[in-house]
């Protein structure tokens, strides 16, 4: 389906090294850029959806290469989650862009996906460690997802926020499918109701036909590319276990919507309620989730291979010298309906573990091998508050230089050493 697989193998190898550079003994760290908000202050370990892509990516590499080193990296990541599991089954600091708060959605379900994919692989190998990862995911699923977020109709955004967000339900579907498969008991009731949440959020007509509405955006009713893709992934996985024409129809409608948003330089954020495109920012590392959606859909339906190639191109061409993949382009004009122009902003060029994991997971689905290639030093001209700056990243640190050092984070630390943004 995709050409240039040796380049993919190199990119995966460099991403692996970059991920290693972002770790400390408690987990993967780093500042966060996101549409909703960014957190450049708290940079310590967080157990959020980054563990979905990291663990799944390493498990995929192991299953393709049979090299135990990849399995050990998957277990090392899963051990971070086990170490950070709280007495109530939640994970410490699971709220990604919101900073160090527990109960992040869909983050906790996403961590469960990673844990259960690893448990499945270990179980197939007869490795006793499988039960520990399964039980950790089970504690989270039983106590938090089913015990707290389930309201009889779907999985709520938060215990105090009853909104049913499609992509979050889709991620939970992926977790429950794995849980059911590994002996957690029938999840059919929850799965089929959560699927209804996803199906009902799809736009049936008009300029946004096929898009998934993010109901958490209130009256704006934004259609967001990445979340449409994640919704699609949940339904495709569900279709494997509980086939339904409704799932296929959803995917058939969602694919053309996604195709329209993919460009050579990233994926448009989404669309406003009136059908105008939100062209700034364009997702880059997170486009890995859209690539994964296409790869999953291709198992059942015809998929436009040129779009998949385009997405691989986007990921590979935005991998910087230090090995990370940029988050986006256009944060300086966030929400604009026109294409952004000019140099990227700090939040654009910043590689974020919780976005790069999506690129990593998707690229590992394509890679048959990994090339161990070294990373170097990134030096990128960018802006912050409209002023020119230089972003510098090495294996040891991330820095933003303007008239003086404006930001310096030593990798692994919980907070930056310099914060003058």
């Amino acid at each position: 389906m995709v050409n240039g697989l040796s380049e993919v193998a190199i990119a995966v190898g460099r991403l692996d090294r970059w991920l290693d550079s972002m770790r400390n003994e408690r987990g993967y760290c780093g500042p966060v850029s996101h549409w909703w908000e960014s957190n450049l202050l708290y940079c310590g370990p967080m157990i959020d959806w980054r563990y979905e892509g990291i663990i799944s990516g390493y498990v995929t590499l192991f299953s393709k290469t049979h090299q135990l080193a990849w399995l050990e990296k998957a277990t090392r990541a899963a051990d971070d989650a086990l170490q950070a599991q709280l007495p109530n089954g939640s994970f410490l600091n699971s709220s990604f862009q919101l900073g160090p708060l527990p109960g992040g959605t869909p983050h906790e379900a996403a961590v469960d996906v990673g844990l259960l994919e690893l448990a499945k692989t270990l179980s197939q190998l007869g490795d006793r460690r499988a039960s520990g990862y399964f039980q950790a995911a089970e504690r989270n699923i039983r106590r938090y997802l089913l015990g707290t977020l389930w309201n009889g109709q779907g999985f709520m955004d938060q215990p105090w926020n009853p909104v049913l967000v499609a992509n979050k339900n889709a991620t939970t579907i992926e977790a429950l499918l794995l849980y059911e498969e590994l002996g957690g008991g029938s999840m059919q009731e929850f799965l089929l109701r959560a699927a209804q949440v996803v199906l009902q959020a799809q736009v049936k007509a008009g300029p946004r036909v096929g898009a998934t509405i993010h109901r958490g955006t209130g009256n704006h009713r934004l259609a967001i590319s990445i979340y449409t893709a994640r919704s699609l992934c949940g339904l495709m996985k569900l279709h494997d276990r509980y086939p339904s024409q409704d799932h296929l129809k959803f995917v058939l409608a969602a694919l053309p919507f996604l195709y329209r948003l993919v460009t050579d330089s990233g994926v448009h954020f989404g669309m406003y309620r009136d059908g105008r495109g939100i062209r700034s920012p364009r997702w880059i590392a997170g486009a890995g989730d859209i690539l994964r959606a296409l790869l999953l859909a291709a198992r059942h339906l015809p998929v436009d291979a040129t779009v998949a190639e385009q997405l691989v191109h986007v990921l590979l061409t935005h991998q910087d010298a230090a090995g990370g993949i940029r988050t986006a382009y256009g944060f300086a004009q966030k929400g604009a309906t026109t294409d952004c122009a000019g140099p990227p902003e700090l939040r654009d060029v910043l590689p974020v573990v919780g976005w790069c994991d999506k690129a990593f997971r998707a690229l590992t689905m394509l890679a048959d091998d990994v090339v161990d290639a070294p990373n170097g030093e990134s030096r990128i001209l960018c802006t912050w508050k409209g002023k020119p700056c230089e972003y510098i990243e090495t294996r040891e640190e991330i820095r933003l230089e303007a008239d003086r050092c404006r930001y310096r984070w030593v990798k692994g630390e919980s907070f930056p050493e310099v914060y003058e943004l």
């Binding site: 709280l86 939100i278 929400g335």
Partner: protein
């Protein structure tokens, strides 16, 4: 004690403030951090941010000690008021009448009565930060690190809210500008900020 709704640790005013407070705490690399607050949610919020640093915490009450154990699996001490903590944090607690205890360093977040909030809720915010700083200066060398929710931020954020219903693109651009450009100020506007973050070093 639970937080008043104005101090919800999930609200962005508290989250951003605590991130900045803990950045200042972290920069001192203390081995022992005392959290001077009667509110368990606030204490846990501070611990979540700093626990990866490996520092030891002390808190005001056995109830908070139990909450740390049950919710975070963390063992903390109950403060002995003996000055053994390297640094004391006051997360919105000086305004609640918490005493200023002995320590080499202090970091505090304080809600300021000389801000727009006083206009909206006259009884909600009673701390005159200028008076507080004058009082603290008898024992600490105080430096104001940042103000949050100052007039420029409010103008831009207010403009965003005003257009949210009919111009979403402008709304998102303006809110982003408010949050990235104007949330924290380090100039003299701190005097009119809703939240003031200050750092003190004990005068020897």
């Amino acid at each position: 004690m639970k937080l008043a709704d104005a101090l919800d640790p999930y609200s962005f005013e508290v989250r951003y403030t605590l991130d900045y407070v803990c950045y200042l705490v972290s920069s001192r690399r203390p081995e022992r951090v005392g959290i001077v607050s009667p509110c368990s949610d606030m204490c846990l919020a501070i611990m979540r941010r700093l626990m990866a640093n490996g520092c030891h915490f002390s808190v005001l009450s056995p109830q908070i000690q139990i909450a740390a154990r049950e919710e975070l699996g963390l063992e903390v001490d109950v403060q002995g008021y003996d000055g053994s903590d390297d640094l004391l944090v006051y997360p919105f607690s000086l305004e609640q009448g918490m005493p200023v205890l002995q320590s080499r360093f202090m970091v505090a977040a304080v809600r300021n009565s000389l801000s727009y909030k006083r206009l909206l809720h006259p009884r909600a915010v009673a701390t005159n930060v200028m008076t507080l700083v004058r009082s603290l200066k008898k024992r600490y060398q105080i430096s104001i690190q940042a103000g949050a929710f100052h007039p420029t931020f409010l103008l831009v954020y207010g403009a965003a809210l005003a257009v949210a219903g009919f111009a979403p693109s402008v709304y998102f651009q303006l809110t982003d500008r408010a949050m990235t450009h104007y949330f924290f100020c380090r100039g003299s506007l701190w005097r009119l900020s809703y939240v003031v973050i200050l750092h003190g070093e004990r005068i020897v």
